[in-house]
Structure formats: C-alpha cells, structure tokens
C-alpha cells in the first residue's frame, strides 16, 4: 500500500492523501472521503485512515481530503463553508489527472454526507455515494415513533441532529475558539429539492447507500423511512439502506467502526464490479 500527500485545486490550496494499492487498476473507481465535521482528513477515531487502508488492501484507490478551511487546506475567501462541491470536483480532477482510476465513489459522514450529496448533484463522474447519518426527512410513521419514544422514555432527551459544521463563526471571520453554540449546522434540502435531486441520481444510475446510526434514531426511526419520505425510490435497484443502532455517528467504538469499514469496502467492491460488468 502507498500513501502520498498531494496539493490540488486552484493554486494548490487544497490538501489530501492518496492511498493506493501497490499496482492500482485504472479501470476501477476511486473513493473520495471528505471531512467529517471539522475533523481533519484522518476522520473521527482515525476512521478515514483505517477505511483508506482497507480500501487499498482491497485494490482500490482513495483520496482523503481536507475541504477548504479545514485541516491543511487553505481557506477560500468569500465562500460559504457549506459549498464544498468545488473542492470535491477539484479532488476528482486530481484523481483523473493521475490515470489511476475510472469513476468515483464518495463516502461522506456527518457533514461529509451533505458534501457527498452536493457533489453528486453537480458532478456526473460520481458513480456511487454513501451517506453516513446524512439528511433525515420525516414521515407520519417517524413522527408517531418519535412521539411514542418521548412518552415511553421520558428520562431521555432528544439529541440535536448534526449535519454539518463550519469553522467560521456566524458573528464574523476572525479565528477564535469555536464554542458549541457557534457551530453552524447546514440546513437539509427541502422535500421538493431532495426529490428533484433523487430523480437526477436515479437517472444517472447512481449507486446510493444510506447508513443511519443510533445517534439519529430519534429522527430516523425505521429502515424504510427514506423510501416512505420519497416513494420515487421504491424499487430503485441501486439503493441500499442500513441502520446501525448500536453505533454513534463518529463510530467511536472499534467494534462498530471495523464492522462499518468491512461493510463499506464490500459495498464499494460490489458497485465497482457491477460498473465494470456493464462497461
């Protein structure tokens, strides 16, 4: 396995680490791993490093990157932190320039799931996307489950749904310690926009994997909630949904982290095999 640091994007302002097997197969897709929240490219509990190394062992190239303003990437003046799609497109350009892969799969966790969705909207080079604790859209059944949970587990309070974090305080641009109350959460897309995006994803035959942990169980309470919220997904054969109630969104426990990585590697290999079979 090889790891090498690269600078890419405009003026080389972005930074990332390419992980690859000794001899990469240029016909297989690469895997893009954006930041989780404000944590730099190694990921929570070093999960992105472990995932990239597992992918390399399975023969796949990956790029763990720092979005602008995070980790070792420069800040892009005047750009919203929520607008990470240009960074991910630049990352795909960097992979393309090296001729070590064909097509890209993105795996985004937490705010990275938002990034993955935004990248999938704008860049047709993506052939698959994984959303770990991504957007949650409610349904009548989810509302009922939530209400019942409030009544039966009244000692337990509901956690916030974390979707994305910005290092830039709302009050201004000066760097300082970021207090929890200053962290900016992305807004999920409206139902209408999400439906429109999914139509486009399906038209492009994008492979989709949605994973929900116990951290969002109050809001995402049953496996088919996504399909109930967006019935157009019913029967879409490139869709998978998994719930992992015993895990948290950072996959702090090694047991859940290792199981997740195994599942992701298997899913990516399956997507890659299907793609190669159809080309």
């Amino acid at each position: 396995m090889n790891e090498r640091a690269i600078s890419f994007g405009e003026s080389g302002a972005l930074f990332g680490i390419i992980g690859s097997p000794e001899v990469p197969d240029p016909l297989r897709p690469a895997v893009l791993i954006p930041n989780t929240g404000v944590i730099h490219r190694v990921g929570p509990s070093r999960m992105h490093v472990e995932l990239a190394r597992a992918l390399a062992s399975a023969g796949l190239v990956s790029l763990r990157l720092d979005n602008a303003g995070l980790g070792d990437s420069e800040t892009v003046p005047g750009r919203s932190d929520a607008d990470s799609a240009p960074d991910l497109c630049a990352a795909m350009d960097a992979l393309d320039a090296r001729n070590i892969s064909t097509g890209t799969i993105i795996i985004g966790s937490h705010s990275g799931a938002h990034d993955a969705h935004e990248a999938a909207r704008v860049d047709p080079r993506l052939i698959g996307a994984v959303f770990l604790d991504g957007y949650v859209h409610s349904t009548p059944r989810a509302w009922l489950n939530r209400t019942m949970a409030r009544l039966t587990e009244r000692s337990r309070h509901l956690p916030p749904v974390p979707l994305g974090i910005s290092l830039t305080p709302k009050s201004g641009n000066a760097l300082h310690d970021v207090l929890p109350s200053e962290i900016h959460y992305y807004d999920p897309p409206s139902d209408e926009r999400m439906a429109a995006d999914l139509v486009e994803f399906m038209r492009r035959q994008l492979a989709l994997l949605y994973v929900y942990t116990g951290d969002v169980e109050h809001d995402y309470s049953y496996a088919a909630q996504l399909i109930d919220a967006f019935p157009l997904l019913r029967g879409y054969r490139h869709l998978s949904i998994r719930q992992i109630p015993e895990a948290d969104h950072h996959f702090l426990r090694r047991a859940t982290r290792e199981a997740l990585i195994d599942m992701l590697v298997d899913w990516v290999l399956a997507v890659a095999a299907k793609r190669q079979a159809t080309v």
């Binding site: 790891e3 929240g37 944590i39 730099h40 490093v49 760097l175 300082h176 109630p245 047991a255």
Partner: protein
C-alpha cells in the same frame, strides 16, 4: 510555504508538515509536539495556525503525527510511549536536515509537553528551549483526566440514546474512541511531573497553569477547556494566544 514530509522508518513512515519562512530564516527551528486522541483532533487546525504564525516570524516549523496516529504509518494498537519519545528525536533530525536550523525549540501542547520535556531530560533531543503549553502537572493527572472525560462522554451518550440502541461497550484497550493499548496508561502515568530545570530554557505557557516558581512563562488570555466534555469535538483556535506566543518566542529566540 508548507511542505508535507514522510520521514523515519520506511516500513511505517511518520507524516509531518514543514512550514518554511518565506523570507530569511531564523537559526532556531520549532518542533511542535501535539497532544493525544481527542485533543490531537481538536487542536490540529489550531497548531497549523500557530505554525503559520511562527513561520511568518521567521521560524522553520515542523509538526508531525506520532506513529500509529493521524497520517503516520502504523496501527494505534502497537503504539508505545518510548516509541513516541524516540520519534521526537527522529522529527528533530528531519527538521534540522530539511532546514539547516542550528538550534531547536520544542513546543509541546498538553500531552506533547510531557513528551517534549521527557525527550530533553533523557538526552534524546538537544534543545535550546522547551515551551510547555498547558502541560498537565503529571502523566498520572493526564491519564486520570482522560478517564474522567471518557466516563462523562459515555454517560452523556448513554443518557441521550434509547434503551434499545445503547452503544456497544468499549473494549478495554480503547479510550475516548482511540486506541489505548495495554501498558500505555501505566507508562504515561509514570511520567514525572513538570520539570522546572532541564538542559536549556524552560518556558511555561498557559492562562492558569503556570507554576508559581517558574523562571520563564508566557501568560495567555485563553483557556484550553481541556476537561470540558461539551468541547471535546470543538476546534481549539485561540488566535490571541497564538499571537502572544509568536511574539514572545520571536523576541527570545535566535
């Protein structure tokens, strides 16, 4: 100008980022020694900002990830304290080789401060100055603090989750979501308390953790909130403190 580096053992290289001054370089190179686990994660960007600030004042600066952590090679389950202290020596050699600096200042944050003073006390590194930023009073206190944070975090997560979706229990050799191999806690707990006398200058850097009889100190306006479980994933970016530390080191080092 930043330059990523891989150095040290070929099989398990260490990853570092070198910050070179744009103009004339000072004789003193600064080796940043980061902390462990969640503190490493929440201070990563902050230490980059500090490195940029120091290099803008003419210091060549190297920050790097200990073996089995971050972007460095190796698995955290095989990490050991003596290995990390040795790696400080390897990083110091890399900094000297890359920049030609003739003098060295170790700037250690939290756990990194304990490692830095140990590397100097044991002669692994010959440094003209050691700056100890919010150093725990001893390894034992640092370990106890981590374990209290782990308990608090587990309790918080447990109280927030439904009965049927409790987190799986942590393995014995993980702490705060990071590898915590057998023996590491005991080794860290054996690290001695703050050393006021080492070869070279000792500079205590803190808002409220400066020993009363210290010879040199830099008093900061910002607290680190290292024991606050609510901030365990919040970025540490005390820019006013970065400015003060940069100015003081620029005044006092070649």
């Amino acid at each position: 100008m930043n330059k990523p580096l891989y150095f040290g053992p070929v099989a398990q290289p260490l990853f570092g980022m070198l910050h070179r001054p744009r103009g004339a370089s000072r004789q003193t190179g600064v080796l940043l020694c980061n902390s462990w686990g969640t503190e490493y994660l929440r201070t990563y960007r902050g230490l980059r900002e500090l490195a940029q600030s120091l290099s803008a004042s003419g210091f060549p600066v190297l920050r790097f990830d200990y073996g089995g952590t971050g972007d460095s090679g190796g698995d955290g389950r095989s990490s050991c304290l003596s290995g990390w202290i040795d790696e400080l020596g390897i990083a110091a050699q890399a900094l000297r080789a890359e920049t030609g600096c003739s003098e060295l200042c170790l700037l250690g944050l939290r756990f990194g401060a304990l490692l830095a003073q140990e590397a100097v006390a044991t002669g692994i590194i010959d440094a003209q100055a050691v700056a100890l930023w919010d150093s725990p009073p001893s390894g034992e206190v640092f370990v106890a603090n981590l374990q209290q944070m782990d308990d608090a975090l587990n309790h918080k997560r447990s109280s927030e989750r439904r009965v049927r979706s409790q987190l799986v229990p942590p393995a014995r050799d993980e702490l705060l979501g990071h590898e915590w191999p057998d023996g590491l806690a005991a080794d860290i707990a054996r690290l001695p308390g703050l050393r006021k006398h080492l070869p070279g200058r000792v500079i205590f850097v803190s808002r409220d953790r400066i020993p009363p009889d210290s010879v040199e100190s830099i008093r900061l306006p910002d607290a680190g909130h290292w024991s606050d479980v609510e901030r365990i994933h919040s970025p540490w970016l005390p820019s006013a403190s970065f400015r003060i530390v940069t100015e003081r080191l620029a005044d006092g080092l070649k």
